[in-house]
Assembly symmetry: C2
Homo-oligomer: 432 residues x 2
């Protein structure tokens, strides 16, 4: 309400006080307290600590705890949001958007859609003009919606879903789980290319580019009238890769998770050329979950508004962080004969107007010694938890190391790697 | 931050000001402005008007506009939240819950789970002690998770999914859409009961109780070792039905939508007895959408906290509203020989400790005249939009009328019904 000519806060005060109090909980820089976090006596949320830290204020380091580099939790972006508290805060009134749909009877917030288009235009990573945009519960749900919608109906022969090795684990797991007469998972796209019946079968190829796990700007392997391609562009942001050009594929999938770091919000989107396909994907969203959480869409709206208001700041922060992590990782691995990382050829980045290297979300580590066939086990013995190569359709000589977690996680990972590699050098020196 | 011994709001002020300003937008009581609503000049969100109202402040009534009684948008609860602004407001910090999982590595907020259990205990509508709870994007996603998880693996014969007529439309649509070697939709449970091969096949029966569309406390039709039952308990709250006892089935599905009215949040849950089933449903949530939006869970957390803080107030408000609507509907229909409503036998309600009638979310209207085989068309001619009986596996002599929308929607529905029925009387009087 107005008091004089000044707005005086009324209904939001209680909630604001509570949220600020919880957010101000001291967790030693190794944790944070959430409004809906576990509570202790007095119903006060307690600190959620980073891995390897414990105690009421997360100040105690747990010695010999494992470096967990498995999940892709993008908490490397948390400090950015901690530095932009006022501009990213969100206040929700109790009666906010209670209906299933928005005013235009769709499941898609038009204002969020506008922000997504503006963002792609600003970054120059995807063409969105004259394209349809659909939201889903993370890229996870959107990717599967695309597979369903691209599969032919009323056919006796299911579409074969492929991806070139190494591929994103979920492509396999999800496609197998939902497989039916419409589609089934067929494995490596390279293998399919050599199949004689290849040209007469409907094929759907996943192209994750930049790729998860190896960070490369992957290309489609299969082409032809009966081939549909789903481009997973989750990592096509300047923090992870040079942006050579604005992507302009038929179906491109993005996610808030790897852009702003808000994996928990579950908000992904697809940019789609064909209207019929768009409608089929919309129908999928209706039958799967009756649209997308409006609270997730509201949160994304607030966050993307902040991203756009701050110019290139989030990308500068995120690129700086990833670049520095890669420099540390490369320095460490370069001391070793036992491990290697993929080649990293510089390319021109239209966003930063300069030639630069990749700075992917994951390190796709290879164990080079003949006997180290199980690279995961080699690392595990050194108290490092990565993800096994076979999960990506590749050899277990490879391990994926997540580089997008908290700074604490990354520090511990580098420390453990250094320990492991220093022993290796020690042994070699000793033997020589 | 503290100034003296008082907390002075800092980072939340800007967002609070913005939210309060938008929420205070004048929409004549026939609409409301949303933070992420469509914007006009000056980037100010504009009013979203109730159906049949228009203009910048929703003050203009649109004459002859149709009464839309089709969707189940539970906006009858919006006034409750407008009356509880301070206790239901939510303030979210920019770095809130960015990870995929909570501190215990699950997709389920333990604090929200506690509130759900406390609520069921308070209302006495479901046993949750020693039960597992899983969240999903509305009951929509949870119902399908249950079908997948209850279907046998590695079988040549898919589970047959049935429901007794009239059944919830989505049970058919969703099951058919996702059907595979694991399960397929088989239609009416009554028909299946008489099948000779019935006892050797795996069957999954949906029991929506109270039922959508007809509001009855539906019972399972099929029983036996090879029969699994999914109880859709979306409407099992005191506003819609007497609560004869605490439900205690193996799989019970609930949703925020029909409890607090927040359909757009997409937050449903299942209460599950069997741990193995719970784990399979969790895996479904992972493969389908990598869990549930944490923003949806946070919103539900805030709303359920308010519900519990306010004692029985939300149920009193909602029951009062539904009871009054049913009294008006019954009064109107009782003047007619052309239309009828299902029987409404009173039962004892343990929540209100009294005998009372049903006050369902929908009116399951029947056209009684021999020639009125298409009841939807009869109503449409009178400018009333319901939903056709065949969508519920029933005859088109039936139409579902939604009674849970805004007061404006309901007023217009009653007005149109009165008009239609008064003509009927007129015609009858004229002919006599």
């Amino acid at each position: 309400m107005y008091v004089g000519d000044q707005w005086k806060l009324s209904w939001s005060t209680r909630a604001a006080l509570e949220a600020e109090t919880v957010a101000a909980t001291f967790c030693s820089g190794h944790g944070r307290a959430y409004l809906d976090g576990l509570v202790a006596h007095g119903n006060k949320p307690v600190c959620t600590c980073n891995s390897c830290f414990t105690g009421p204020d997360c100040s105690q380091f747990i010695p010999h705890c494992p470096a967990t580099a498995d999940s892709g939790n993008p908490l490397f972006l948390e400090p950015f949001w901690m530095q932009h508290l006022a501009s990213s805060a969100l206040v929700v009134v109790g009666w906010h958007q209670m209906a299933y749909t928005y005013e235009d009877s769709t499941y898609v917030s038009k204002e969020l859609e506008k922000l997504v288009r503006r963002l792609h235009e600003t970054v120059g990573n995807a063409v969105t003009e004259n394209r349809f945009i659909i939201f889903g519960a993370g890229s996870t749900q959107v990717l599967n919606a695309a597979v369903f919608a691209l599969s032919p109906e009323n056919t006796s022969s299911p579409a074969r879903v492929v991806s070139s090795v190494p591929y994103y684990t979920l492509n396999k797991e999800q496609t197998e789980y939902f497989s039916s007469e419409k589609f089934e998972f067929e494995g490596d796209a390279y293998t399919w290319r050599n199949r004689s019946d290849g040209s007469s079968t409907n094929v759907i190829e996943f192209v994750t580019s930049p790729n998860n796990p190896d960070g490369q700007l992957k290309q489609a392997i299969l082409h032809g009238l009966n081939v549909k391609t789903i481009y997973d562009r989750a990592y096509y942001w300047p923090h992870f890769t040079p942006i050579p050009a604005s992507a302009d594929e038929d179906v491109m999938v993005f996610t808030l998770s790897k852009l702003t770091g808000h994996a928990g919000t579950r908000l992904g989107w697809a940019v789609i050329k064909d209207e019929a396909l768009f409608k089929r994907m919309m129908e999928h969203m209706r039958l799967n979950s009756m649209g997308v959480s409006k609270d997730a869409q509201l949160r994304a709206f607030r966050l993307l508004k902040t991203v756009l208001e701050e110019g290139t700041e989030i990308f500068d922060f995120a690129y700086r962080t990833m670049k520095s992590r890669w420099e540390r990782l490369v320095r460490t691995i370069s001391l070793s004969d036992r491990f290697s990382l993929p080649e990293n050829n510089p390319q021109y980045c239209t966003f930063y107007s300069k030639v630069r290297q990749l700075s992917p979300a994951y390190g796709w580590l290879k164990c080079e010694r003949e006997e180290d066939k199980d690279c995961f086990a080699v690392l595990k013995a050194a108290n490092i938890i990565g993800r096994e190569g076979h999960r990506y359709g590749a050899e277990d000589r490879h391990v994926r190391l997540s580089l997008v977690k908290t700074e604490d996680d990354f520090d511990i990972l580098i420390e453990r790697l250094n320990e492991l590699i220093s022993k290796e050098d020690g042994v070699r020196t000793f033997e020589e």
